[in-house]
Assembly symmetry: C2
Homo-oligomer: 325 residues x 2
Amino acid sequence: MRSEILEILRRAGDKYISGEEIASRLGVSRTAVWKHIRELREAGYEIVSQSRSGYSLREAPDRLLPSEIQHGLDTQCIGCQIEAHEVVDSTNNVAKQLAAAGAAEGTVVVAEQQDGGKGRLERHFFSPAGKGIWFSVILRPAFLPQEAPKCTLLAAVAVARAMETFGLKAGIKWPNDILYENKKLVGILTEMSAEMDGINYIIIGTGINVNILPEDFPEDIRQTATSLAIMKGEKIPRVRFFQAVLRAMDDLYASVRTGDFEPVMQEWKKYSITLGQEVRVIGVRDGEVFTGRAADIDADGALLVDTADGRRRVLAGDVSIRPRQ
Amino acid sequence: MRSEILEILRRAGDKYISGEEIASRLGVSRTAVWKHIRELREAGYEIVSQSRSGYSLREAPDRLLPSEIQHGLDTQCIGCQIEAHEVVDSTNNVAKQLAAAGAAEGTVVVAEQQDGGKGRLERHFFSPAGKGIWFSVILRPAFLPQEAPKCTLLAAVAVARAMETFGLKAGIKWPNDILYENKKLVGILTEMSAEMDGINYIIIGTGINVNILPEDFPEDIRQTATSLAIMKGEKIPRVRFFQAVLRAMDDLYASVRTGDFEPVMQEWKKYSITLGQEVRVIGVRDGEVFTGRAADIDADGALLVDTADGRRRVLAGDVSIRPRQ
């Protein structure tokens, strides 16, 4: 109902629409309309009213509300269902529960704040209220589990594309960190439930530092984290940025789900700051360390590193780019 | 308490032990002992009593009770926790919930019957009451998701070893079917929850057709399924067979968890009826069909097939052995 009222107000543009007209169009009482308008105002919508002419929408809040995100989104799959929360422990955990209960492919879970946000390797992920986009997407590709990393690369490319539409040049560090001046802008954590013959579901969790200011970051990550607002020098409208990310994901996934990973791979390479560099790799599980030149990625998203002992294929690991001597 | 009473009766062998002695050893009332004895009898234990001398255990039921399975099991990891059910939809589903809630590695879920037993590729798995061993094991190896198939091969080898201790020669068809006269004895379904950098948990679900008779099988699988009892020509004690499987899993996993997959691979090859054969492979997802000679498996458990166009690596697929012309 609220989104229908919003739609009527939006279509009216600058014109006022009476409560009576809204009530009759939606087949509800004027009191019901008035109650919904009050709730919308409480949710941050600036709706002005004049006693004779009715209501007019002046400004929508930059809050991650399903009605705002879906307004004009126009995607085929990603974001067709959106579940929004004020605070969750982690959107990945909420999405996992939804996925296990049968949620449709493309379902998005987003929160204003995470109080247990997590990154790769059980690291904490700082996710303060109202200053970022913390979200998870449920996918159900007809992949083998071995191909799941493709979705991680896809997510990084989608954010990079969205940045480009806002005039920001993204640099992707393998596999999926997005950096600016060597500080982290975006974190991605992909999780899956799978059998050996196929994937039940993949959850792509993405955290985008949008309007976090330097002083907002806890001290321990102030030297290693940054935000889109810091990069651009001004606040970024979160809803519009989020829409750009979801549209890019939708477009890229349309290829990937049919088995064509080439577009993601090509675009990933375009944004890559890892390829061509001397890198130091630390094995995630065994702690083994080696160095070499990051030569390419392969069709599964693995990083190919040319070392003194030959080419090595890195499926998981911490990769740091070595400063040129 | 029940397992403590059983332990006292077992240690007594053929001798009778008075209710009073049991009560005083365990620090409970004679009435409590009598109630537990009654429950044990209801659970199928044959406990005889004489008015003067007390109780004696004549026979334990061949039921998959934790106390029976754990009695003398002596494993390091697998089976340290056992949860037994009369009927579940599928032991994999129960195990997944336990694993997500933090259950310890090695936890086993077993049921007398599954009413929604499932095999690979969402196929139904026939799991009638009391005639098989339908169980799932929770593992938490420090693997990459790509290595998960190792656990599937491990499970097949464990059952093959257990069969050998019962004088039965197992033939493993890649990756994990155990066949006798080209009919299926055992089905294994491995599922996992993972991030790209590591596995949260693996569930190995195993269904062993133990004492199913030919006429017990539904008509649609009568030509393709068989049982250990049919193979041996007599009933197999389920508890003892299950213990042999859990011990073999425990032994094999002790190597695998430290990164040494070689013992499993060597033993898998010993039992393999696929290697060296002309095979027909149907891709699980794309439906592509090709033929060739099954040459080897690699360190990830993939099947290597030499085709007219060169060697191909099969990670998932339906493999059938072609009769020699």
